[in-house]
């Protein structure tokens, strides 16, 4: 796979840059250029918005049959995180034993390796979460 596909998303993957609709104040992640609530009224009003990285576990699972880049970490925790801003993100939870995870647990974003394009390709970095 080619690098630009990942490269163009670095601001969001490294720093949780999403969008905020200036019309309804709704926050979105990943970035989108049309607000699903305001639609046309939101054109040109979707501004870059950085999430704090803090949130709570909304739901979770322990993955035993992983995506290829996650093989060395299985079983690993995948979770849906409800961020302070109300928007939800999907991410791995690290630095936490599978038996300690629960709905409502406070977590924060961290930067980790998400995968790589084989041994000679680029390495992808992005957000994961860990208990606070």
């Amino acid at each position: 796979m080619s690098n630009p596909r990942y490269w163009r998303e670095n601001p969001s993957r490294y720093n949780l840059i999403g969008r905020r609709c200036e019309n309804c104040k709704g926050v979105f992640f990943p970035p989108r250029e049309i607000c699903p609530k305001c639609r046309r009224k939101s054109l040109g009003k979707m501004k870059a918005y950085k999430l704090t990285g803090k949130g709570k576990v909304y739901s979770f699972t322990i993955v035993h049959d992983p995506m290829p880049d996650f093989t060395l970490m299985k079983p690993y925790i995948m979770a849906m995180i409800e961020m302070e801003e109300g928007v939800r993100l999907t991410g791995q939870i690290v630095d936490c034993e599978p038996e300690k995870i629960s709905i409502g647990m406070h977590v924060e974003a961290t930067l980790r390796k998400l995968g790589q394009e084989g041994g000679s390709g680029i390495i992808r970095y992005g957000y994961k979460f860990r208990p606070v």
């Binding site: 596909r5 998303e9 990943p30 909304y58 739901s59 979770f60 699972t61 322990i62 993955v63 035993h64 049959d65 992983p66 995506m67 290829p68 880049d69 996650f70 079983p75 690993y76 995948m78 979770a79 849906m80 939800r88 993100l89 999907t90 991410g91 791995q92 599978p98 709905i103 998400l114 995968g115 992808r124 992005g126 957000y127 994961k128």
Partner: protein, 388 residues
Amino acid sequence: MRDVAIIGVGDTKFGELWEHSIRDIGMQAGLSAVIDANIAGEQIEALYIGNMAAGSLIDQEHLGALVSDYSGLSALHIPAVRIEAAGASGGMALREGYIAVASGMHDIVMVAGAEKMTDVTDEEIPTVQMAGGDQQWEGISGATMASLFAMMARRHMHEYGTTREHIASVPVKNHKNGAMNPNAQYQKGITMDTVLKSPMVADPLGVFDCAPISDGAAAVILAPLDIAKKYSEQPIKIVASAAATDTLALQHRESLTRIDSIKVASRKAFKTAGITPKEIDVAEVHDSYSIAEIISIEDLGFFEKGKGGPATLEGMTEINGVVSVNTSGGLKARGDPMGATGVAQAVEIARQLRGKGEKRQVDNAEYGLSLNMGGTGGTSVVHIYRRL
């Protein structure tokens, strides 16, 4: 708009069809539907083929021309197109065929669904399945399709007290049904204990909560209702076709225990058909993961929200229960060749409404419903059928 009927159905056995390519199975299913419909190949005016992932599974796009060609139709130069909506590709193909006939554009069309999944290794499958969700913001983050349904299951348990046994009762029932379907991938009953003790895939879902990797194809022939009797003694009327979409990624949904595309599509379908969920005798729903069947039978309106688990455990969705769900064995036991699944659902409903369900026949089935879903519900397609 004209009324549309199914005048012929056909399918292959679902499973690990090592000897057969996608060309073979596409042709086999189509041929058996043509024979069943009692038509000649020259009468087919257009071909719609549901296929999710031939491009990534076998590096083959352009399935329309391929299936048409290997079905012996190349000299007829008919229009043929592949329809893709992840796991809902087959249902969407059926809907496109339905629209073509209903609109008067074509009279007789073939709708086929085909997928060849065993030409890649098992390790490659999670990535292919995840392409039905948001690969860029769910898959790259480590989410598998199973993990997304597992998070839905966890919320369902959290919000409604649904238990592991409730969820496990789905594959137990579907295997029981599949054991009576000669074309099913698994024709063997399983116990609750087998499901509960199966190796974990994505906690709380185990191997027996997940539909298998399958090869297979299915096909139906559609015709305007007014000429359907010319070909078939038992044409099955499609009384409603509805589809709806939702956010691609699960993370953007307001609730994880509800699938709005199912609610919207089924509401429209029931309205068009002029009936209520109570009148459905037999339904094929999208149990790609066991929890999906529970959420589906709730959102289709068969059971109250939160009651899908207990209803299943109590046998209300068994054959001749309150509503007979997944008499074919569902995706779990019949198999889930992704693009073929939606068409296979229509084949099973047609058989049930014709009274050809053999050992798994639902008594006096008049109305049938199929729900075919893509990804975590980014697309849902609902069809309602009626025996004439």
